[in-house]
């Protein structure tokens, strides 16, 4: 442990395991040394500086838990130093005790107006100093404990939200959503209109398969299928909007902008077909009916948001692009991706040569205008 005589040389005095740091601001080295000695005897770490400017620098470098501040400093008044500390949100909560030989009423009023938390009169009585500082220390520690609890609760809340969102979006996207909690522009706020790229995936021939195998086996197969295609959606940062029967709806450019959304949707389709191939091979080997995934991709304006009743609500996407993607999926053969003309235009540069077939303008059920359709086999 440093001896007190080291204080003059270093300006610091830190007993072992001191968890409470006090900054003493006093231009009188004898007074500073005296205060430091008493505080150190109470297991507090003490730094001493002689003027307001040094105090500001020391606080900026490492904020103390308490400031003992002399009123009459060589460069500026302690009132002014106190006022600046209390005006800065980063330092406003640091307790400040004004130490002064000034006993007049006006000085006390000035100190209160400057935001001082307490006063100590010179000559400083040992018992009074310790009592006042220990009181502020207890308050400080209580406040710190409350803050730690608040932070822990906040982390817990965000973790619960993150887990909930992880069911719909990739872990990375969930992190981003949690990070934006409280923001006015939170992505999962009110319903809004967005340009969306929608991908539907559907298991061809699965309905017939369910008629020939046991219920338990159907559930196992569906779980295996959804695990594979969900992972593919997450790998490409897609947002899962619905999972019904054997179909899955994935959105891109939502809730956060993705300038390469059409390409992401295409990569997801490729990924789904590629990842599902080994599963399909196993099913075929076990004697199941050969099947495969059919996919449809379309883009357009859609309404996105939390839609439902106070009792049941879904993060939902509604619009023509979703309907078109659904119709394309119904038309797609196993292992085939049908894309709308707009999507084809956006991804043509990344499509495999010789694997694209233009199907012309196709009349889709429920749509008044025919849609240009392209079939791609990854």
């Amino acid at each position: 442990m440093s001896s007190v005589t080291d204080l003059a040389a270093t300006g610091q005095y830190a007993p072992a395991r001191a968890g409470f740091r006090v900054l003493v601001v006093d231009d009188d080295p004898d007074m500073a040394g005296y205060l430091a000695l008493l505080l150190a005897s109470e297991d507090m770490a003490v730094d001493c500086v002689p003027d307001g400017r040094s105090a500001a620098g020391a606080i900026l470098k490492s904020a103390p838990d308490l400031v003992l501040l002399d009123v009459l400093l060589p460069d500026t008044s302690g009132f002014e130093v106190c006022r600046r500390l209390k005006q800065d949100p980063a330092t406003a909560l640091i307790p400040v005790v004004l130490v002064t030989a000034l006993e007049d009423h006006e000085s006390r009023v000035n100190g209160i107006q400057a935001g001082a938390d307490d006063f100590l009169s010179k000559p400083v009585r040992r018992e009074e100093l310790i009592a006042r500082v220990q009181t502020l220390r207890r308050l400080h520690e209580t406040r710190r404990e409350l803050e730690a609890r608040r932070l822990a609760a906040e982390v817990q809340r965000k973790e619960a939200i993150r887990k909930a969102f992880s069911r719909y979006v990739s872990p990375r996207l969930a992190e981003r959503i949690v990070g934006e909690l409280g923001s006015e522009q939170a992505a999962f706020g009110d319903a809004h209109r967005l340009h969306v790229v929608a991908l539907f995936a559907d298991l061809r021939g699965f309905t017939r398969l369910t008629e020939s195998v046991e219920v338990g086996e159907v559930v196992g197969m569906l779980n295996e299928y959804f695990s594979v295609i969900t992972e593919a959606a997450y790998r490409n940062e897609g947002t899962i909007f619905s999972m019904a029967g054997d179909s899955l709806l994935v959105g891109f450019n939502v809730p956060f902008p993705q300038p390469d959304a059409p390409v992401r949707a295409w990569r997801t389709a490729q990924d789904m077909i590629g990842s599902f191939a080994p599963v399909l091979a196993r099913w075929t080997q076990r004697g199941g009916m050969p099947t495969g995934i059919g996919l449809g991709i379309a883009s357009g304006e859609a309404i996105v948001g939390n839609i439902g009743s106070p009792h049941y609500m879904n993060y939902t996407v509604i619009g023509d692009a979703i309907n078109t993607a659904a119709r394309l999926t119904q038309m797609a053969d196993a292992g085939e991706v049908l894309v709308s003309g707009a999507v084809h235009e956006a991804i043509r540069g990344v499509l495999p040569a010789g694997r694209v077939e233009a199907r012309g303008d196709v009349a889709l059920r429920g749509k008044s205008e025919p849609v240009a359709v392209y079939a791609v086999r990854p």
Binding site: S3, V4, T5, A8, D28, P29, D30, M31, G33, Y34, L37, S41, L72, T100, A101, K122, P123, V124, R125, R126
Partner: protein
């Protein structure tokens, strides 16, 4: 002439040599300031003595500091001469006991 006996807390013992050395420097500064009739500096030095003396257990330093501060405020050079001389006498004869 009898000494001024002062009882100082044992845990302050390490600080006392520096403290006393600073008081003697302070006495020299007081004399220079008095010769120059620098009442503002005399007031500040008196104010400082007032704050630090009693904190260490030197009540007389606080008392003399208060008188110097008041003398400087009123510009009473004769009173200041007397109090500074008294301070010099005190510092030359003070005896410290640690307990």
């Amino acid at each position: 002439m009898s000494a001024y006996k002062v009882k100082v807390d044992k845990d302050l013992e390490d600080l006392i040599p520096t403290f006393m050395s600073n008081r003697r420097k302070e006495l020299d500064t007081l004399r220079v300031a008095l010769a120059a009739a620098d009442f503002e500096q005399l007031r500040q030095l008196g104010h400082r003595m007032r704050g630090v003396g009693n904190s260490y257990g030197f009540d007389d330093i606080t008392d003399i500091g208060k008188l110097i501060e008041e003398g400087a405020r009123s510009g009473d050079k004769a009173a200041l001469e007397k109090h500074i001389a008294q301070y010099g006498d005190y510092l030359s004869r003070v005896e410290i006991a640690y307990e």
